[in-house]
Symmetry: D2
Subunit: 375 residues, 4 copies
């Protein structure tokens, strides 16, 4: 019997929280193997030094990107968990080098060696914000610099799995959503598409654990600063806003502006989004609920909670699940939609793996089956 | 020189978190002494058994209310931290017994002995919800039983200090606000009075630490249930809603309905309220900020944060301070007002002490001077 | 091709934390199905009401034990997560009813119906303390009542997997260790067997998260009591002490008394045990380390950390792993051994599943493969 | 009536957690005023930018040390909360400049201007480790560089208040103890002095909150790394060890080596030390307790808990109190002594203020009176 040939994975930026989470999930995937792990600041360390909890795994030593000898590695899938901005250049190099016609792009300096290390049909799954905004002018405005790979942007597919599955299937470059947009998009897109709510005036009050801020050492993320406190931030405009507006506008068929207001909570994982919406004429909260139940009935990772039960982040911790709930508002003509995810799983690495499964024709739930961890 | 005659205090319900906090604050008050502490389930225990952190204090043993021998105690002020519902009966007994004419009230059984133990001008400061709603029908609807002391309700004064100071000064029965209403009332009342915001459509997304739920053993409040999670609750109508609507309606001069939605966070103390409001025609977020700055300029316990700085619960922990901030909303014509307090201090026991100081003619800040504890 | 006949499982006491954890693990086991879940206080509720995080699973409604209609259920394995004391009676009934000769035991009232519902070779895996102490007098002394099933005690096998695998394989009644004994036994038994440390004078300073105390509502376990604090408890003798002494004495070949001192920490999961030992003449800390490395080299769930790296509970969270480390003590002739587990997994439900796998001839790691969840 | 002339304070290193805590405490001190606050990285920021929780205070803007114009400031007391190593040079400059004869020390470059800004009898209270070790060779060995001010070291007084009050009274340079040594010294010194325990073989298992590690941004102190975990550290020799050994040796009258092993816990404040000791011949745990009760009977900040009650960090949070408890060990001839403090108060800034009060002849408890904050 022929031996299974495993899909060969490279993870660029493996030492952050999303990198660690990717490794945790992929380590139990039956059909893939991780052959390259890069991490600039931790280059030449073993994975167990950076992530002692993964010390049981037999994986390659961490390297700098530029020190990887790609020749002969035969990489099938590249996950990019690099800092915002750098991904555009790296991905441009990766895809150009595999012979695809990216005619107006200059080959990234020093990436020639990638040609022999990546397969022609290499897939890139990006976890950064670099390819999420379709309008490169929007990108420039929100991120403070010109887009470095506008032509690639044109072919990038937005990776909110449940809403974009068919496009993801055939994409070679998938831009996974930010952790914050995932819940509002899953919750509100079907309601907007079906004309159940007013596209204007949507308010999203989001609450997040700390891991969304990454693993870099910042005073604001010290235990002493975060524990025993709750505080708002990003009130002058959080960068996940344009991404939400872009996708919600598509669902609504008109241009949408949202009020998005994140808060930092003393917990490791989890995003809870409380969304305040105006009902369309003649619509009730129960109608919204019915719409969501129908829309996600066949989805393995989205579930509408029973009536009266509020979604809670503790009920999705460590899993790829998204819980949604709908509630009547005391204000007439309005409703409240609430959703919860684990920001590192469905909000990032889990959704990335879900997309990979689709892009490679694997069962979508592979390595994502585990139940949430509570308490 | 004459010795200082201290004001004599009774605390009914001293073993809960608000009771402990009252004791913590009053212990350093130069002009009062605590002579009666009651706690039904912990009767005959010393305070240090119930609250080891207060083990340094030399205070009376805890007793059942009905076992207190009031004769000769000469109580000046009674703080009531009893479960909702029972306060009405107890207070009726207390005040009737001191000879005040509460003609249509039947003397509470077995309270005759109080007559000699309470001064004629005894003051009652209630921390429960029993006297907060002016309309006893509202009370019956939200709390599920008839009001037991409607005539007393008529004379009760709502104890939101900064908004009602003059009435509090002469009251004999003050109903301290719930922990949740305190922030929205401080933040929105001046804006409504001055016509700066639309009275209708106000949305309050509130986040609270666990101590607001009290110290009774409930599974939902176990560390294992709360830590590492965030969840909404009370979505079918939290009992602090009518209280907010009552007071905001007064400020607005018209009947107001609010959307109030609380969330439980994994922290001990603190309430953060994010309030979404519609600006009045021609008004800006900066106008709101200016109004609040002016309104609270002379107040020792309310402060408007610098522009761009979001109030955080960690910055008020353990103190009687309330921080308020105003921010532009991305939605045109709207603004976001955010406030933070320590729910056990300004949201409960601290405000009660502040009211006591006013009622007794003491400097308002006595025993409330300490800075917040951070981290 | 013949369909797989799955092993049929009953879980008695399914609504506590260990019950929930058993379900979480078994839900992904390829060869078992859960057909009975009991929970006295939550009888007739669905699993998703008791454990919303398991809401995706399609499992039986919770029942009272006495309401289970066992006839025809064909149960193969019973997990008991009942309160201490009651397990002895329930298990006596279970095993007697299947026709085994437990001659001197009186059939437990009302268990006749179990006869037809349990297979003759039913296996019982107990997570309580009821069958851990070989000497029933020890049991009576530490637990305050006579042992109700002394003959069954005689055949019970102590379920510390790595140390007792062969006996577990053929047992019909396995008594899984307490959460606290697991680490000291894994760490110290090999050192005692090999004569590397002095059997006398062992000090175990243990630190535990809150879930070890179960899910029952107790004031001491409220978030408000536990968060932001650390405190010792059980200083007058914790009930896990005799169990440790029993097993360590076996390893040492002489009677051992230990100083065991637990501390409660503000975290959900995890036990960290710091063990202070006297080296045998001529032995060094490195010798201890070598002994442990050799002893556990082939074990999938026990790992000795690299030199200088202290085991941490965050590195085993949600997994069945045990990390061990050995360190020189500044005091001459002494060493420090440190171990970490997740108390709900390797310290309870995970070890129970590991034992089940062995008892049923399954690969030992089934449903226990997942990596720890960090952060 | 003459106006009170307040003592003029400079705080060098005001932006760390100990600096913030000093300011919190001194802000309510009736007899002092803070006139200089330095903070290198935060120079020219207002205090409320660095510590929003102190935003109510009217204090000087933060400055770099070298930018302070000392002339005419008339500083009476300098608190040093600088990084280890730099304090020696700074203090040398400070004290030399005031005309004291520090003959063999070279004047620190650029400190001439201090002459006019410090009073002749300026007092220096150092919170760093720079002057704690009497033997400068010990210092060099543990801290990796020669001591820069050996002559000053000779006159420095170790600031464990309760054990060294008389020497502190007349000192001009007090070296406050590290957070970890405070509990073991308070607990064990009287027992060693009285010959109640064996000076050899003492084991100290310490548990600490995160603020002991300071406010500098380090990955290991991120919320994501610390929350939901417990881990040992410093197992190759924590720098607080020689300090403990130095002072315990004095108490015992012989040279002592201790086994000191710290653990990091997920909480902001608090140190819990569990100390394992051998009883002297004929001594019992109760004798130890009696000794401690007698020793600390008159002390305002040290209290022995009631029998059977374990000290807990939650019971001292935010206060200057130290709780001590004594327990029988299951191992014959041994006992367990447990102590708890708030590491930022009694373990650092509170003890520093306590020393200042003594040095200036103020009542010792001034600005330290507040009860612990629980929860």
């Amino acid at each position: 019997m022929a031996e299974l040939v495993k899909t060969r994975i490279a993870i660029l930026g493996a030492s952050g929280y999303t990198g660690g989470e990717l490794i945790r999930l992929l380590a139990r995937h039956p059909y893939v193997e991780m052959v390259v792990l890069t991490a600039d600041r931790h280059a030449s360390q073993s994975l167990s030094q950076v992530f002692p909890h993964l010390g049981n795994l037999d994986l390659p030593v961490l390297m700098k990107i530029e020190e990887v000898e790609w020749a002969g590695l035969d990489i099938d899938v590249v996950f990019c968990g690099l800092p915002h901005g750098t991904t555009q250049e790296v991905v441009k190099g990766l895809l150009h080098s595999t012979g695809h016609t990216v005619v107006d792009e200059v080959m990234h300096e020093g990436r020639d060696d990638l040609v022999s290390g990546l397969k022609k049909n290499v897939k890139v799954i990006d976890l950064s914000a670099d390819f999420r905004l379709e309008d490169v002018d929007d990108y420039a405005q929100w991120y403070g610099h010109e887009h470095y790979a506008p032509q690639l942007q044109a072919e990038a597919v937005y990776g909110l799995t449940e809403l974009n599955r068919e496009n993801i299937r055939d994409a070679r470059l998938v831009a996974c959503p930010g952790c914050y947009p995932t819940v509002p998009l899953l919750a509100l897109s079907p309601l907007l598409s079906d004309g159940m709510i007013d596209p204007q005036g949507i308010i999203i009050d989001a609450k997040s654990g700390v891991t969304g801020a990454g693993r870099a050492a910042k005073q604001a993320m010290l235990f002493g600063e975060v524990a025993e406190g709750a505080h708002p931030y990003g009130l002058d405009g959080h960068r996940h806003t344009p991404e939400m507006e872009q996708e919600l506008s598509k669902a609504a068929g008109e241009s949408i502006t949202v009020s998005f207001n994140p808060h930092l909570l003393p917990m490791n994982r989890g995003i809870l989004a409380t969304m305040y919406v105006t009902l369309a004429e003649g619509t009730t909260a129960n109608d919204l609920r019915d719409t969501l139940v129908r829309r996600y009935d066949d989805e393995p990772f989205v579930r509408v909670t029973e009536e009266g039960i509020g979604p809670s982040t503790r009920d999705v911790r460590g899993s790829n699940q998204c819980l949604l709930g709908v509630f009547e508002d005391r204000l007439p003509g309005r409703a409240i939609v609430i959703g919860a995810i684990d920001n590192l799983v469905k909000g990032s690495s889990g959704q990335a793996v879900q997309n990979m499964n689709i892009m490679l024709g694997f069962p979508e739930f592979l390595s994502l089956e585990q139940e949430p961890l509570f308490p």
